[in-house]
């Protein structure tokens, strides 16, 4: 899929711009603080209805304005679509072909985007919540059912944590019964989330392993594994997963009441990344960590293509300059001719590649974007 036209209104430092873009590599060239990342963010928000760098939607609105709007004409396999995301003081609205969408979980997935930015190194280096967020976002954009299940899980989790807090120090009989109920409800929701994560990671692993192998010219074996907090495994049926998740809750019940929080479940599960059987997070060099993050992102692109039959749009924010020549050309070779890509950089110097020569270049300067002829 690709964007044909992008219009921004009062988005960050863009007052009003209207861009025609081609289905190829588009380079956004500019000094610092001119609006390169803002432009990438706009495409990201178009896909996910939220930013990759802030949880406060209001920051997206241009200072002193009361709304921000992103509109795009995109081309998908099945035809064109008009998309619109509006952020205002009153909240957020999404539209597809002019029709307002009632649920975010239904909107997300109409436009698929994969972003690779310097922060993505945290995917490998950072805490477990970074990897959980990655899995959730990526499964979410190919499965609205997953997003729905996850939202359900999170809501029950909140209810259960509140109940646990209320139960301290001396639980009454009603609370004990209610804890049984919420434990059962949480285990049901957890099982759905866990089983989808298992199958997604299996598919991602297949791609990531090959890609990583290629980038490292056969020297490194990358392995992703889901490390759940309950005794569950991939080959189990949904009902068995549910049973074991419940068992884990039962075993830690007294501890949970003391601590006032649910101690196991998908919100505590971990994704581990290993290179040649060593944990990358702890033992990997900076270069290995960067390559692992790149392999994951490239795997994601292929996985989306497998799932929906077309490639997502790729956003590369300030990462080209951070990769060495070998990895740069691997990346550019992979996307050439099949993935619409937006690349930001402060200078094209040192990026010698055919792809870049054939690219459209836009100059970002103080809230304007001009195509270089």
């Amino acid at each position: 899929m690709h964007i044909k036209e992008l219009r921004l209104k009062q988005f960050r430092n863009y007052d009003a711009i209207n861009l025609d873009v081609e289905n190829k590599v588009n380079v956004i060239l500019g000094e610092n603080a001119q609006g390169k990342t803002n432009m990438m963010e706009a495409v990201y928000v178009l896909a996910f209805a939220k930013s990759h760098r802030t949880s406060k939607d209001k920051e997206l609105m241009q200072w002193d304005q009361d709304f921000a709007r992103i509109e795009a004409e995109i081309e998908r396999k099945h035809g064109p679509l008009s998309l619109e995301v509006i952020v205002s003081n009153k909240g957020k609205k999404t539209k597809v072909n002019g029709l307002e969408q009632q649920k975010l979980s239904e909107y997300i997935g109409t436009c698929n985007v994969v972003m690779f930015a310097p922060e993505d190194l945290n995917l490998v280096k950072g805490g477990p919540h970074m990897r959980r967020r990655f899995i959730d976002m990526e499964i979410g954009q190919i499965s609205s059912v997953y997003l729905y299940d996850l939202m359900m899980y999170q809501r029950v989790l909140k209810q259960r944590n509140q109940l646990l807090k209320n139960m301290f120090p001396v639980p009454d009989q009603e609370q004990e019964v209610m804890l049984d109920v919420l434990t059962e409800q949480l285990a049901q929701a957890a099982a759905k989330v866990i089983s989808k994560r298992f199958s997604f990671l299996q598919l991602l692993q297949n791609w990531a392993k090959d890609i990583h192998h290629q980038i490292t010219t056969g020297n490194e074996e990358l392995r992703l594994t889901y490390a759940p907090t309950a005794e569950v495994s991939e080959d189990m049926e949904l009902s068995k997963i549910e049973e074991n998740v419940k068992l884990k809750f039962q075993q830690t019940r007294q501890n949970e009441i003391r601590r006032g929080v649910s101690l196991s479940g998908p919100h505590r599960d971990e994704l581990t990344l290993k290179i040649n059987d060593k944990e990358v997070q702890t033992y990997g060099s900076q270069g290995q960590q960067r390559t692992a993050a790149l392999s994951l992102k490239l795997a994601e692109i292929e996985l989306i293509n497998d799932n929906i039959g077309e490639y997502p749009i790729l956003l590369l924010d300030d990462v080209l300059s951070e990769l060495d020549h070998h990895r740069q050309s691997h990346l550019l070779n992979t996307i050439q001719g099949k993935v619409q890509t937006f690349v930001t950089t402060t200078s094209v110097h040192g990026i010698e590649h055919d792809t870049l020569k054939q690219a459209s270049t836009f100059i970002a300067e103080a809230g304007t974007l001009k195509q270089m002829k």
Partner: protein
């Protein structure tokens, strides 16, 4: 800020207490009232006060009513062995419109939600349990909303009632998940009644 004379701003304030009415709509309504005939305004004011004064909750089923016990509880033609548990009085009206169900009701006035500080004692669950001890009820149909809190409330009731040997069923099919009973159309509702499953 525009300064209205006190009678008007009081009226606007009054309208703003209603659900879904903001300052704009409230002032539009207030000015409309000023243009209405005095008799109509009086009638309207009276019906507001009467509705509040004359309606109470049924001491048996907690449905809204003008006589106590309510007409449904008093109707001996109805099946005295089944009680349908709902969250709201509006749900009783939705079920009654369907005319498929002829048993009794029990209105909880809410659902259990620790996040909102609502426990089982804060809704009419203790009253339900007491009612089951005395009356000759043989089946409890739980028709709480298909939301997380509605489901949890249904499961909670089931855990309390099951040991007494009374059959507990749950309105099962066709209800849109995340929706309210109030909004379900009649066809889906009657399907739901047919397909009730044991909890």
């Amino acid at each position: 800020m525009v300064q209205y004379p006190t009678p008007i701003s009081k009226l606007i304030e009054g309208f703003m207490k209603l659900p879904g009415i903001g300052p704009k709509t409230a002032s539009r309504l207030a000015f409309y009232v000023l243009d209405m005939k005095e008799d109509d305004v009086l009638d309207f004011a009276k019906s507001l006060v009467n509705a509040k004064r004359d309606l109470t909750y049924c001491s048996v089923c907690h449905h809204i009513t003008d006589i106590d016990p309510c007409r449904i509880c008093e109707d001996k033609e109805r099946d005295q062995s089944a009680v349908c548990v709902v969250q709201d009085s509006k749900d009783v009206m939705a079920m009654e419109k369907m005319r498929e169900y002829s048993g009794l009701y029990h209105v909880l006035h809410g659902a259990i939600s620790p996040m909102d500080g609502v426990g089982p004692e804060d809704i009419k669950i203790p009253e339900l349990i007491k009612r089951l001890q005395n009356d000759d009820i043989q089946e409890v149909i739980v028709a709480t909303n298909p939301t997380i809190e509605g489901e949890a409330t249904a499961m909670y009731i089931s855990r309390l009632v099951k040991p007494t040997g009374i059959k507990v069923t749950r309105l099962a099919h066709g209800l849109p998940i995340g929706g309210d009973l109030e909004y379900a159309d009649e066809v889906t509702l009657s399907k739901a009644i047919e397909g009730r499953r044991e909890l």
